[in-house]
Homo-oligomer: 141 residues x 4
């Protein structure tokens, strides 16, 4: 079985929209908050490397399915697994769980590693690949 990184979270007061539920785009904020906490857990915090690394890993795709509405203050922990680990890119899979461990939202983000200067595709740093590997979902192709 692969490891899963869990980022504890709850629906934030100001992220609720005029319909009384979490604004759908804020699910992506929570994905990204969890991703940054995950990188920090892997001892590669983005805020220490953002300005000086030779590479950047921009997000090229994001998607989500909204299964159940999330309300203010209710638990929506973000569970992260690695759905795909390629040579120069990887896909993270997110599940927001709460309300008695029900699935609230699922989603994915795709990240591609490029040279900072030229934006040419390049291999993921070995250290990052190695750190992501234990989280590679057993069900991934």
């Amino acid at each position: 079985m692969n490891q899963v990184y869990v980022y504890p979270h709850r629906g934030r007061f100001q992220d609720i929209d005029a319909a009384g539920i979490l604004f759908f785009a804020r699910n992506f904020d929570y994905f990204h908050d969890a991703y940054l906490a995950f990188l920090e857990h892997l001892e590669m915090p983005l805020h220490e490397h953002l300005d000086d690394a030779e590479f950047v890993i921009p997000l090229v795709h994001a998607e989500a399915d909204f299964a159940k509405p999330i309300r203010f203050g209710t638990r929506c922990d973000v569970h992260i697994e690695v759905a795909r680990l390629g040579t120069s890119s990887f896909t993270l899979a997110y599940t927001l769980r709460g309300d008695g461990d029900r699935v609230l939202t699922t989603g994915q983000t795709v990240h591609c590693c490029v040279e900072r200067a030229t934006f040419a595709s390049r291999a993921l740093p070995e250290r990052l690949s190695a750190a992501l590997k234990p989280y590679l979902a057993a069900t991934s192709p």
Copy 2:
């Protein structure tokens, strides 16, 4: 040829992230801003119906591909077409264009009509279907 609704927009100062580009999740905010302006253009503004209609049309899926970074103040007009128009749901397709009419972001959102009281699936109101029809993309299946 189908109609296209265009919502003029530019990268907002506070939507830029620590990497100096539009935070990816804000693309979804711009999709939704354009969607609400589109509804208003169709003379069905959401803010007049949010509290009293018998139905609601929650968003069940969203996705986006980020082709080019969007920066502060640069144009990123949102072009909307209807990608799919079903009996009880529809899919909107968005293209953010700027920097000399280049495609910056593309994306889709899926909306399902349900009874407000029971959340049971129901047909889209006829008036809405009729209003969306001229925007149905010629290339849609």
Copy 3:
């Protein structure tokens, strides 16, 4: 000496603006996040009472002074004290500290208790007044 509630925080990736620092309005978000955590610490979490209490305590004033720029990932813990505790209103004082315990931002919010139905001014619930009292700043008038 009065008690001080401390809410640990850091500059969030998506809250940085096009000038590369925390967007000034996000300081107010952090004040409010800390305020809600404070209420929870006092065992009066807002999300459990928002819909049913006979009173509401809207915010009628907010202000802040921005002493030093806050950057992505840097510590900006929110320290809360009660600056004033009146019969029907109270003022909270916030200090964001980081970068070696330096003061980054200071600010205040004023909250007035009103009847939910009529919005007429009313006394703060006794339980809330009692809970806030230990945090009343020694230097307050």
Copy 4:
């Protein structure tokens, strides 16, 4: 009588909070959106100068009074005047009006001009001072 710059606006869907009204901190976002539109109206758009000017004009103070709740879709136009025009700093005064021209929110922001390299205080560029002057409130001290 001085000139007033008016920025048309309405309460945005995603800016509503769990209490059903505009989240107080978003008033400051609207102030700033109006400020940037004002600079553009004065033919000094920030996004063209942010990266290369010799000076920057950081915001050092912000405050607001919330007179009436703002709801989704309701008008809240931002009226800007110059409350104070000093040698190296200026204060803008904002009034959000709507609901039949009622005052919804009032507020101020203070901006100080500094050298980009050293952050030493310096005089406002003459062109900016001249452009702001017609908006100096008749009632200002």
